[in-house]
């Protein structure tokens, strides 16, 4: 789902200003106008509408999953999504990776003075749609406006709460030798979409972010495999980083098969040109699941029956050997380490 400032169905609310003013964050009349005209119509729900200092929620009992994340992506709009999509989906996914059903989000906005109100509106529309799609409500929030240069256009922090079903116990420390490592689809799409749009590089086919809410896919997988060991969405640092975290937390090795790793041709091409390995590139709509070997086929079938897991694959297996390391058997039959990345990914000279 992609929305750009020029292309939205819901018209821009009428105000005296075209851009966000410092006064919009003053707590006075302009703040009230911003909240009433821009935020409330988008996130409409009874809890938020009370406009109290807090959301009071009916707790369904059981264990809660609780997470928070800040989104500072540049550009705000990119092929395949926007900061609004990420702010909802990213936090929904962090809740879902605990096996939980996401219920509520909070959203806090830090806005740079001078941001066009049309841009803010487009971001909020994207958040509205993403929250609707994910079945979560945004029940509380905050807005601050800072002076020019004090932040870059718009930062959003979202916090998520969800309920963990009985019997589900997911942890990076749960892996056991023999377990299968599954991945829900192609890797590197989000990071490469951002990098290529930021650097103005274009390839034969456009690379789009994969931003999506994964909790329904998670529920479908847990339904056939409640004893699932671990689940994580490989965002920053990519698949390589997540697998290294798993291997270290559990004190096991992980052996991947190079041929099994799904990468779109355009992402591979961009990676070759920039000297960046898609294994280290961020995803925003993919998950890695570790399951007992005997559940591999059942979980893969459940994944593939869901649109977000249609290209699900078994990447490899957990080993007792090489504890703490992730390795790969290459297509040529050789082996190499898939290490943790060091710092930011830097393109090579030649």
């Amino acid at each position: 789902m992609s929305i750009t400032p020029e292309d939205f169905s819901c018209p821009l609310p009428i105000t005296d200003h075209d851009t966000v003013q410092l006064a919009h964050g003053s707590g006075g009349r302009l703040t009230a106008e911003l909240v009433e005209k821009f935020f409330l119509p988008r996130f409409a729900n009874p809890t938020l509408a009370r406009l109290e200092d807090q959301a009071v929620l009916e707790c369904p009992g059981g264990r809660l999953a609780f997470t928070t994340d800040t989104f500072v992506v540049d550009p705000l709009f990119f092929p395949g999504g926007s900061i609004g999509d990420l702010a909802v989906n990213g936090t929904v996914n962090d809740v879902a990776m605990g096996g939980a059903k996401p219920l509520w989000l909070s959203a806090a906005f830090v806005i740079e003075e001078g941001l066009p109100l049309a841009t803010l509106h487009a971001v909020l529309l994207a958040m509205e749609q993403a929250a609707k799609d994910a079945g979560v409500t945004i029940v509380t929030g905050d807005t601050k406006v800072v002076g020019k240069g004090a932040c870059d256009k718009l930062f959003i922090t979202t916090t998520g709460l969800g309920v963990v079903p009985e019997g589900v116990n997911l942890s990076a420390a749960n892996l056991r030798p023999g377990d299968a490592v599954l991945l829900s689809g192609t890797i590197g799409d989000h990071g490469m979409a951002i990098l290529t749009s930021r650097e103005g590089l274009s390839f034969a086919s456009r690379i789009e972010s994969d931003t999506a809410a994964l909790h329904e896919l998670v529920a479908a997988m847990l339904a056939v495999c409640p004893e699932m060991r671990a689940l994580r969405d490989p965002t920053r640092g990519g698949v390589a980083t997540t697998l290294n975290e798993f291997a270290k937390s559990s004190g096991v090795g992980i052996m991947l098969r190079e041929e099994a790793i799904p990468v779109r041709p355009a992402v591979r091409a961009a990676g070759e040109v920039l000297g960046i390995d898609p294994l280290y590139v961020a995803n925003e709509g993919k998950l890695i699941a570790v399951v007992p070997a005997e559940k591999t086929e059942a979980v893969l079938a459940a994944m593939r029956a869901h649109p977000l897991g249609a290209h699900g694959v078994c990447l490899g297996e957990v080993t007792a050997a090489n504890a703490g390391l992730v390795a790969m058997r290459t297509a040529l039959g050789t082996h190499r380490i898939i290490d943790m990345p060091v710092g930011e990914q830097l393109p090579r000279i030649c």
Partner: protein, 365 residues
């Protein structure tokens, strides 16, 4: 992916590997000059496929690795000036100087920007006439033509706020120095395919004849490298020492004449210091007098900086193929990619980083 999958085909690779095993009857030591080859060999694990007697030693062809520490210090000093926008390829940002790297300088307020091409730096100079834009012109014959063109372009546009901090080095002088060393073990070269794409290989014919070593310019895909090794081993077994071009889809004997012309217009051959190896006569490029106005070292009159390398680091011996990374006492202990003591641990094309990234499994598989 078209134009690269064809050169990664496992069945064809197996056939080449079998042919190498059949051909090699004795131990041979060959050097891949280029860091791009070192990276590809480690990434695909090609060394794991070779006969035990066929030893690959890793050469000095990593531009990040051989850029002298003094020059990094100069880059940091220039980048720290308030009027300067310092631009560089991404690789150079993390190379340790004697006190700082460029990333640290950026965190302390220097305006350091990563670019993909020197022409982007020229564009920055055009957009910011009030600032001084400096480009870190690092690399071998591969980067020199574009770096030369940037200077030509800036001159043509009359830009007076663009300059280059030049650290260009040349491959053939280093190949000669290594072969002439009394401690040399190299019996054949896999020559750098992209350098040869620019320069051709006519220059290598004299080296092959003088030192009686076969030289094979190769491409960067697994099949290229394996075929290059097969050609080398065949010559070695037959006692031959010719220049034999494996990378025919890119390299010609004469090379890219337009690129060579641009280089010759802007640069002259000069003595250069190589990090870890020392001063090599006539081994690099410097700006010609006609382009002196674009020389950042003159423009900013940075002091001659004396810098010391970490005492434990043996990157000089590694760059000359005399030691392997794991033979260093600091490897994987005091010296890691997140805390590099020497440049060979920084760039993905540095032998130490490649070993650290891909080879720690060796002991356990």
């Amino acid at each position: 992916m078209k134009y690269s999958d064809e050169y990664r085909d496992p069945a064809l690779a197996r056939r080449l590997v079998e042919e190498i095993h059949r051909t090699a009857t004795r131990p041979w030591t060959v050097m891949e000059i280029c860091g791009g080859h070192t990276h590809a060999i480690m990434r695909y694990g090609l060394d794991q496929l070779l006969p035990p007697g066929l030893e690959l030693v890793h050469g000095p062809g990593c531009p990040v690795c051989v850029t002298p520490v003094e020059l990094i210090d100069k880059a940091v000093a220039i980048a720290g000036r308030p009027e300067v926008i310092f631009t560089s390829f991404g690789d150079m940002l993390r190379v340790p100087g004697s006190r700082q790297d460029l990333q640290m300088a950026r965190s302390q307020g220097a305006d350091v920007r990563m670019v993909y091409s020197p022409l982007e730096a020229v564009a920055l100079a055009r957009q910011h006439p009030e600032r001084e834009v400096v480009f870190f012109a690092v690399g071998f014959e591969t980067t020199a033509p574009a770096n030369a063109m940037a200077v030509v372009q800036a001159k043509r546009e009359g830009l007076t706020n663009f300059s280059e901090l030049v650290s260009q080095v040349l491959v053939p002088p280093a190949m000669r120095v290594l072969l002439a060393s009394p401690e040399n073990r190299v019996q054949g070269y896999l020559a750098a395919g992209h350098v040869c794409t620019v320069m051709g290989f006519a220059e290598y014919e004299a080296i092959a004849a003088e030192f009686r070593v076969p030289i094979v310019p190769v491409g960067f895909e697994p099949l290229d490298i394996l075929e290059g090794l097969l050609l080398l081993v065949r010559q070695l077994e037959a006692g031959e020492h010719r220049v034999e071009n494996q990378y025919r889809r890119s390299v010609t004997r004469e090379g890219n004449l337009a690129a060579q012309q641009a280089m010759a217009e802007v640069f002259r051959v000069a003595d250069r210091k190589w990090r870890g190896i020392g001063m090599l006569p006539q081994s690099g490029l410097a700006l010609r007098e006609a382009y002196a106005a674009f020389d950042a070292e003159r423009k900013f009159a940075v002091q001659e900086i004396e810098a010391a390398e970490a005492a434990q680091c043996i990157s000089g011996l590694i760059l000359q193929g005399r030691k392997k990374p794991h033979e260093c006492s600091a490897f994987g202990r005091e010296c890691t990619p997140s805390h590099p003591l020497g440049a060979t641990m920084v760039s993905s094309e540095g032998a130490c980083a490649a070993y650290h990234k891909y080879q720690r499994l060796r002991a356990t598989v």
